[in-house]
Symmetry: C2
Subunit: 151 residues, 2 copies
DNA sequence: ATACGTGCAAAGTATTTGCAAACGG
DNA sequence: CCGTTTGCAAATACTTTGCACGTAT
């Protein structure tokens, strides 16, 4: 049920850097650091988490740059913003293969997990066709108590 | 496709006030005003929108009270928080009948509409059973360009 | 009378913006 | 070199909290 990322990870980072480069963007510093960090993740991170991890690795980045990079990556379709409703936005890489997951949030401990389901995707796709909108994407969040917090 | 609320609206407000009263809460001022305003809506509002509308009606409420009332209503299960990802939380009444909708957001003009779909609900329900979580609720947001903005 | 609710102002978070310095191409 | 990108600090946006006063019960 939980999606595991493996080999695709590093290639996402490479592809993203390459695409940005092709678009005329430069290749250094904060942007590369954020992209590489994101590429190593299995699930979504907050801007603050990204900032903290980069600092922990010794990179001297500003949180503003983290936000700026995320904003750009999001606009260009490389990362997806995820709002799980705790007042802070989360971000995760969009993998090219079309593989795609949603999120399961524990209301109690705040844990976030990913899940994927084909039937759900099909139902979403059907609905999308009937909206009259040109639907660019969708988000699904399931909220509840996780196994540990159910007791 | 779009859900229209009609007769249920006023009863939601009445029911909510009555339930709160039964729980020992008092009946006056800001709380009543917020509940009645929410009851008149077809879709979700932000705290600021609620505040502005109440002020426009001449009610002298503070935005803090609006947030406090929304927090309480949300905790008690009368309203649902909706995060459509624009940095501000939205709120809407939960109607008792179990009728239930999701949201369609125009990335361009910011418009928010409601939609409902039984097949989607069934797919969600199935997935929820397989998560291992005790799922309390779910949110679905479709993002895209609305009819007006597609051009 | 006596809590509970309220409005206001102040404090907290999360995110964005202005700007001069740093840096890649 | 030149224009992009960066870090920092200040600004903004949203939400919560502290507190004295108002008001339903």
């Amino acid at each position: 049920m939980v999606v595991h990322a493996s080999t695709k990870i590093s290639s996402w980072a490479e592809m993203t850097i390459a695409s940005l480069h092709a678009k005329g963007h430069r290749n250094s510093g904060a942007r590369r650091a954020v992209v590489e960090l994101l590429g190593r993740q299995d699930c979504c991170l907050t801007a603050q988490e990204i900032f903290d991890q980069l600092r922990a690795e010794g990179r001297r980045v500003g949180i503003a740059s983290v936000y700026r990079v995320l904003e750009q990556l999001s606009k260009d379709g490389f990362v997806q913003r995820i709002d799980i409703g705790a007042g802070t936005t989360r971000f995760e890489p969009i993998h090219a293969g079309g593989e795609h997951h949603h999120h399961l949030v524990c209301d109690d401990c705040g844990k976030v997990e990913a899940f994927a389901d084909d039937q759900l995707e099909r139902a979403l796709h059907k609905v999308e066709g009937r909206t009259g909108y040109s639907v660019a994407g969708h988000d699904v969040v399931l909220r509840g108590a996780c196994r540990d917090c159910t007791s």
